[in-house]
Amino acid sequence: MKRLTAITVLIVSCIFCFSASSSGQDAREVSKNSADIIALSSMEMVTTLKIYDQKGNVRTRKVSIASKKFGEVTKMIMRFIDPADVRGTAMLVYDYEGKSDDMWIYMPALKKSRRIVSNEKGKNFMGSEFTNADMSKPNLDDFNYKLLSTETLNGKNCFKIEATPKTKELEGENGFSKKISYIDKGNYLCYKIEFYDLSGKLSKTQSISDYKPVSGGKFFYYLMEMNNEQTGRKSVLTTDAFQAGSNLSESLFSPANLEKQQ
């Protein structure tokens, strides 16, 4: 069940890479610009997560997601399409500004929606190399930022920004001691993040690619890969279909509707 809580705000799953900013006000400005360029008030998508173990064996998860802002609340509904044994499982998240989310889960065998809470940002997301922290909207104030240098990555001139959790508690929650992000100086798109474990060793490397423009000058990624540098496992998140905007009514984003849409 916790793996589902990880997907609370998948639509902003790559925002975290923009949360790093250069030192001082400049860093925060970079971060804000990075967040803005992928911020959408509503969207729908179908995404596939492939989880590879050390031997290359693969497991596949496929989910559909819809998100839309109603008033001050961004509501997101996510539903498993595959594999078959979890098909129909759904999750609903109300993301509020300034307070913790409301979350519900619906499992077909349970035949009713159930309110849940989640507090484990460092846990694996759906059994993959991604963590819940990777998939949820970060709080900029949780981190200290430092501009390390500028570096060319695949021909792109990037800021190389280090973000460190402000407290030991935040380190534990997020599951890393620091992360280094590579953010395009021209358009603020993030292409790579290196995560370091609590002992300071490089643990995972994330690459984000296949950005495509959507409406209003915004972008959205279609491919995200996380390589575990210590175990040899990797996970690949592919956006199969994406739609900026959504014509779904608010009633669909309700706990009562989770049951109907099984």
């Binding site: 069940m1 916790k2 793996r3 729908e44 179908v46 596939t48 989880i51 497991r59 596949t60 559909s64 819809a66 509904i77 539903r79 399409i81 595959d82 594999p83 078959a84 044994d85 098909r87 109300y94 509020y96 913790s100 409301d102 519900w104 065998a109 349970l110 035949k111 009713k112 159930r114 309110r115 849940i116 809470v117 989640s118 507090n119 484990e120 846990k123 694996n124 759906m126 059994g127 993959s128 592919t238 199969d240 279909a241 994406f242 739609q243 905007g245 959504s246 014509n247 779904l248 009514s249 608010e250 009633s251 669909l252 309700s254 706990p255 009562a256 509707n257 109907k260 849409q261 099984q262």
Partner: protein, 456 residues
């Protein structure tokens, strides 16, 4: 290759038909066959399972079966059809069987605001886990022993209307025209050589014997709660003594006591809530059950208040749910054990025998109804943890009835060997003082289970 083509196709469709909903369409795409409109709106799924449950004192092979579950669903703009059919064959309690179960089959009208469904449905109310005082609508087969307690749910024909006032408030109205009782196999228990069970005594199939239920449900920002009402015959029935026979022409006359499962009528006024508090979540559920005739008929429980208080938290990946399960009987009247006043008098002996049968039977009903004292208390604890990148899940549930000193433990380990193949192994062990419900149940229901399930 096929998935890439489908992905490209999906993107093309998206670009050309941007007014459609990607989210809702994707729900109907699980078969990956978007050949025509019907295929887009129809979903076929199911599973095949082989299951073993056994090792009890009375049965080496308590329940061994193979099962094919077939699910079909059609969702139109305002139409919904849903069915789940089980084909099952095997051996249960030393009886071979092949059977077809309509787990659910219903159809109806749906819209943003209003749904109306008719057919065989399973409705589960209540916000606590496993113990739900407000859940009175569907029956259960308590003796279908598998790795998943949800397999025990039995559907019933009903009419269900749901009206969503807004995204936070909805009203559920249910009418159940005929009664379906839960299944207890007390005939399998060692209740004495003279006790026999005959067919159930159920209410006549008349409108007045149907059940109605209503619930108003609130899902607010910081709390979810509901108020509910049920009026009808309780699927969780009692037992009545149908006849007591004594062949006095026999030199050693042996009594024969015939029991019949007998349903009772009740009204239930319920409420529940779920309240997140940081990383904790509190749940509660309670119902006042109003019955009439408990003083006259042993199969009718006394009016009571049933309640469950639960607290849930994830401790470093260990999801922990602790529940207190209570029942208060305001007008509790202890049963007086009969006394043989004139041992030498044959008529007095017969009267004593009859009174003792009624006394023991009433006591047994009180055990079923968890009304052994005016206040009855129990605790349950469930701990669940996933390992190995969520391919392995361990779960341990324990239950202890403080009032009757009975307990049960149920460990379970599930391994998702592949995306569609799951192995489950575990067991159930219950124990209680002599003549307690678990003492009767243990020789039949204790055991180990092993299941292999492949989904499609």
């Amino acid at each position: 290759m096929k998935s890439k083509i489908l992905t490209i196709l999906a993107i093309l469709i998206l670009n050309t038909l941007s007014a459609q909903s990607l989210f809702t369409d994707s729900q109907k795409d699980s078969t990956s066959e978007q050949k025509n409109d019907l295929a887009q709106k129809t979903e076929i799924s199911g599973y095949v399972r082989g299951a073993f449950y056994g090792g009890s004192k009375n049965y080496d092979l308590t329940s061994v079966f193979a099962q094919f579950a077939f699910k079909a669903r059609y969702s139109g703009k305002h139409t919904i059809l849903h069915s789940e059919i089980w084909f099952r064959g095997g051996n249960m309690f030393d009886k071979y069987y092949n059977k077809l179960d309509i787990v659910e089959a219903y159809a109806g009208y749906v819209s943003d605001k209003f749904d109306f469904l008719a057919g065989n449905q399973i409705v589960k109310w209540g916000r606590t886990d496993g113990f739900n005082p407000t859940n009175n609508i569907n029956a259960k087969d308590y003796f279908f022993l598998t790795s998943d307690p949800d397999d025990q749910n039995l559907s019933n024909f009903m009419l269900r209307a749901k009206y969503r006032i807004n995204s936070a408030i909805d009203i559920d109205l249910i009418g159940v025209p005929y009664y379906r009782s839960s299944n207890y196999r007390f005939d399998l228990f060692s209740l004495g050589q003279y006790a026999k069970f005959v067919g159930p005594t159920v209410p006549e199939s008349k409108f007045k014997n149907g059940a109605i239920a209503a619930k108003i449900n609130f899902e607010l920002s910081r709390i979810g709660f509901s108020l509910s009402y049920f009026r009808g015959y309780d699927p969780f029935h009692g037992f009545n003594v149908k006849t007591i026979n004594l062949d006095i022409s026999n030199p050693n006359p042996a009594p024969e006591i015939l029991y019949t499962a007998t349903s009772f009528h009740k009204q239930s006024f319920g409420a529940d809530f779920a309240l997140p508090l940081g990383s904790w979540i509190l749940r509660g559920e309670a119902a006042y059950n109003r019955t009439k005739g408990a003083d006259l008929f042993m199969f009718i429980p006394a009016p009571d208040i049933s309640y469950v208080a639960a607290i849930e938290k994830d401790f470093g990946g260990y999801l922990t749910i602790l529940q207190y399960v209570g029942k208060y009987v305001p007008d509790f009247k202890p049963l007086a054990e009969p006394v043989l006043s004139h041992p030498e008098n044959p008529m007095s002996q017969l009267l004593y025998l009859q009174n003792m049968v009624y006394y023991q039977s009433a006591m047994f009903n009180r055990k079923i109804f968890n009304q052994q004292k005016s206040s009855n208390h129990a605790l349950s604890l469930t701990i669940r943890k996933s390992f190995a990148y969520e391919t392995l899940t361990g779960e341990l549930t324990g239950f202890y009835n403080i009032t009757s000193k009975e307990y049960m433990i149920r460990p379970k380990l599930s391994w998702n060997a592949t995306d569609n193949l799951t192995f489950s192994i575990g067991g159930s062990y219950m124990h209680g003082p002599a003549e307690s419900l678990f003492d009767y149940s243990a020789p039949v229901m204790n055991g180990l289970f092993l299941e292999i399930k492949a989904s499609f």
